[in-house]
């Protein structure tokens, strides 16, 4: 499964990469900026987006909106990763088209299975 990961924090990006490699189910492309992620999407052709919300320049929600405009990516599943996890905030992120929200700090040992669970639930719904 191809996963496009947007995260501006180098350390979190590194931890996430190791966590996703741990599960062995993901081919991961990581981007530190929004524009870079939007530009990479058509060539990398991700099956799922894992997007940090607060990213300088172009935020996670903006990146999602831009990628969804690209032909073939209108319904690509997206998961936001954020420290803003108030119930109202989670709902707001889902209203933007995300299938789930993963709270920071996340558990690196279960990150991969969390993402797969979210995709399965979204497909079943």
């Amino acid at each position: 499964m191809k996963l496009l990961h947007l995260e501006d924090d180098d350390d979190i990006r590194e931890i996430s990469k190791m966590a996703l490699e741990l599960s062995g189910d993901f081919e991961v492309l990581q981007c530190s900026g929004g524009a870079e992620a939007v530009a990479a999407a058509p060539t990398f052709r991700p099956d799922v987006l894992l997007l940090d919300v607060m990213v300088p320049g172009m935020s996670g929600p903006s990146v999602l909106a831009e990628i969804r405009k690209i032909a073939g990516f209108e319904t690509v599943p997206a998961i936001f990763m954020t420290a803003r996890v108030q119930p109202s905030e989670i709902q707001a992120f889902k209203d933007l088209g995300a299938i789930d929200v993963i709270a920071k700090p996340f558990d690196p040992l279960t990150l991969g299975s969390q993402i797969k669970d979210s995709i399965q639930k979204a497909e079943a719904a």
Partner: protein
């Protein structure tokens, strides 16, 4: 010479004259003569008597005219008095035997209501002792003047300026009392309004009183006039809609419409005038002859709102800025402990475990601090729905499994199997996690914690019982206070923030429940949280355990936006 002495003189003269004339007549009849000296006096006396008689007749006529005139004057005075004042007369026993039309019109009573009735009917119960005191004054022949309150037939009050004086009967004896009064209710209101308006003028809040229909101002205080740059004395010529467009806005108009139909006092309405924000409290005052009046008090909350915004921003910043590095710290340690970077020596593993556990603790502290801030600011949100408390308990047991394992404590379930309550699932889970982790922490190794679900009246109760050391009696009164650590400095190597129970209590109470506890030192502690039944919810579907959000009726409220 007064009238009565003159009358006696005339009468005497007439008698003397009649006697002389009689003597003269008898003399002529029987042939004797009156003394010659009387002969010339007799005509003079006759003339004098006639003159006196003429004068007396004239005076008599004047007196009659005077009496008639006085009677007319009295009648006119009586008419005027009856038009101007309310008159009631009572007998010596205090029974009413007269009440004028003015009194009847003003008070709503009828002659049938009052005549033969004790005057007490006209007074409020609390005023009766004062009227007994007045009766004593009258009995001693005194009079009384002052402001007095009457109880009208419909139970409302009327203030009168009253004079009470002893009555006099036809023989000039004291007989009961006469009360003469005028209605001063409006004057009193004006007087109290004046005091009220003077007080309102000292307020920094803007205060308006205006007509509900036309929005014509009846009053505004100094702050309101100053804010809209007009002279306060001209307020009666102003219309609220002239002062600012916000008073013609749809929200304001809707609030007035709602007020005119619903409760007399509404919730505060946010009003923005330029860069300033006001909380407007509108209230319908009593109906006047010109229709209902509205009292509007505008409290400037610009600074308060700004403080709330900054506080919210701070919470958000803390939330984000602290959690991001914690993600890396905890993530890196978690991966190391899992052996992703190769085998970790036993000693290093132990030290990493301590660091990892304390990273968790730090995250919990951040979460608790943020929660207590949200509660204090009224910004904690609740997503309410119908949930099975059995699912809540199962979830809490799973969450606490590793924790209870670490303390060698067994968690048992007792009580009824299921119970559907109207709760925020995540927040309630937070409560239960807190109670279970506390119970685990304070249990002896090898001990047990019992979670019991019970039903009572219109609610369910989840109790969490431990058999540990119990809470010292001296600490029990402050157990729900913030930053109170029951276990003192450190308990079993674990120390919380001292905020958990305060947060749990606030969350449960926001969901219309309660948190109570019983504890005996050396025996153990039982915490009990109640959750309301969803008796007002039509949808009977219950959220399944693994996806508590499915099929749920939601009702989200925010304490404050």
């Amino acid at each position: 010479m007064n009238f009565f002495s003159f009358k006696r003189t005339v009468a005497t003269l007439l008698v003397v004259l009649a006697a002389l004339q009689g003597a003269a007549w008898l003399g002529r009849l029987y042939g004797f003569d009156l003394p010659s000296t009387l002969e010339p006096v007799l005509p003079a006396l006759t003339s004098l008597a006639l003159l006196a008689y003429w004068r007396e007749s004239r005076l008599n006529r004047r007196a009659k005219l005077h009496i008639l005139s006085q009677r007319e004057k009295l009648r006119q005075e009586s008419v005027a008095l009856n038009r101007h004042a309310m008159v009631v007369m009572t007998d010596t026993e205090g029974f009413i035997y007269y009440a004028n039309d003015k009194f009847l019109d003003a008070t709503g009573y009828t002659q049938e209501d009052l005549l033969g009735t004790q005057a007490d009917i006209l007074y409020f119960e609390e005023d009766k002792p004062r009227h007994a005191w007045l009766s004593d004054i009258l009995a001693k022949g005194g009079t009384w003047e002052g402001e007095n309150r009457l109880r009208l037939r419909d139970g409302s009050e009327m203030w009168t300026n009253l004079t009470i004086l002893p009555g006099i009967d036809a023989h000039g004896h004291k007989h009961g009392a006469i009360s003469v009064g005028t209605d001063i209710t409006d004057a009193r209101r004006m007087r109290s309004n004046k005091v009220l308006f003077e007080a309102l003028d000292r307020l920094s809040d803007e205060v308006f009183i205006f007509d509900l229909e036309s929005l014509n101002l009846r009053y505004c205080n100094f702050a309101a006039a100053d804010s809209h740059s007009f002279d306060q004395s001209q307020s009666r010529d102003m219309n609220l809609a002239q002062l600012h467009p916000v008073y013609s806005s749809e929200a304001f108009t809707q609030e007035l419409a709602r007020l005119s139909q619903g409760p007399l006092t509404g919730e505060p309405l946010d009003i923005e005038k330029g860069k300033r924000v006001f909380e407007a409290r509108l209230q319908i005052l009593e109906e006047t002859a010109d229709g209902p009046e509205v009292l509007a008090v505008l409290h400037d909350v610009t600074a308060k709102r700004e403080a709330e915004r900054v506080r919210g921003e701070f919470i958000s910043t803390v939330s984000h800025e602290l959690r991001s590095p914690m993600t890396s710290i905890k993530g890196a340690m978690g991966l190391l402990l899992a052996g992703t970077a190769g085998p970790v020596p036993e000693k290093a593993h132990g030290m990493l475990s301590i660091a990892h556990r304390n990273a968790d603790r730090l995250i919990n502290i951040i979460n608790d601090l943020l929660d207590i801030e949200k509660i204090a600011a009224g910004r904690m949100t609740f997503d309410l729905g119908k949930y099975d408390l059995a699912a809540l308990i199962d979830e809490a047991i799973v969450t606490n499994a590793s924790y209870s394992q670490r303390f060698d404590v067994q968690i048992d379930r007792e009580g009824i199997e299921n119970g559907v309550a109207f709760i925020d699932f995540e927040r309630s889970l937070q409560v239960l996690n807190n109670l279970i982790s506390n119970a685990t922490k304070f249990s002896h190794p090898g001990g047990r914690v019992v979670i019991r679900l019970e039903q009572e009246d219109n609610q369910f109760a989840i109790s969490v019982q431990d058999f540990g050391k119990g809470i010292p009696a001296s600490k029990q009164g402050e157990i729900f206070d913030k930053f109170v650590q029951v276990g003192g400095h450190q308990e079993n190597g674990v120390r919380g923030t001292g905020l958990g129970l305060a947060i749990a209590k606030a969350i449960v109470e926001q969901q219309q429940g309660t948190v109570t506890f019983e504890s005996t030192e050396g025996v153990g502690t039982t915490f009990r949280a109640t959750f309301p039944e969803p008796n007002s919810i039509a949808d009977s579907s219950v959220a399944p355990k693994n996806n508590p959000q499915l099929g749920v009726v939601h009702d989200t409220w925010k304490e404050a936006s």
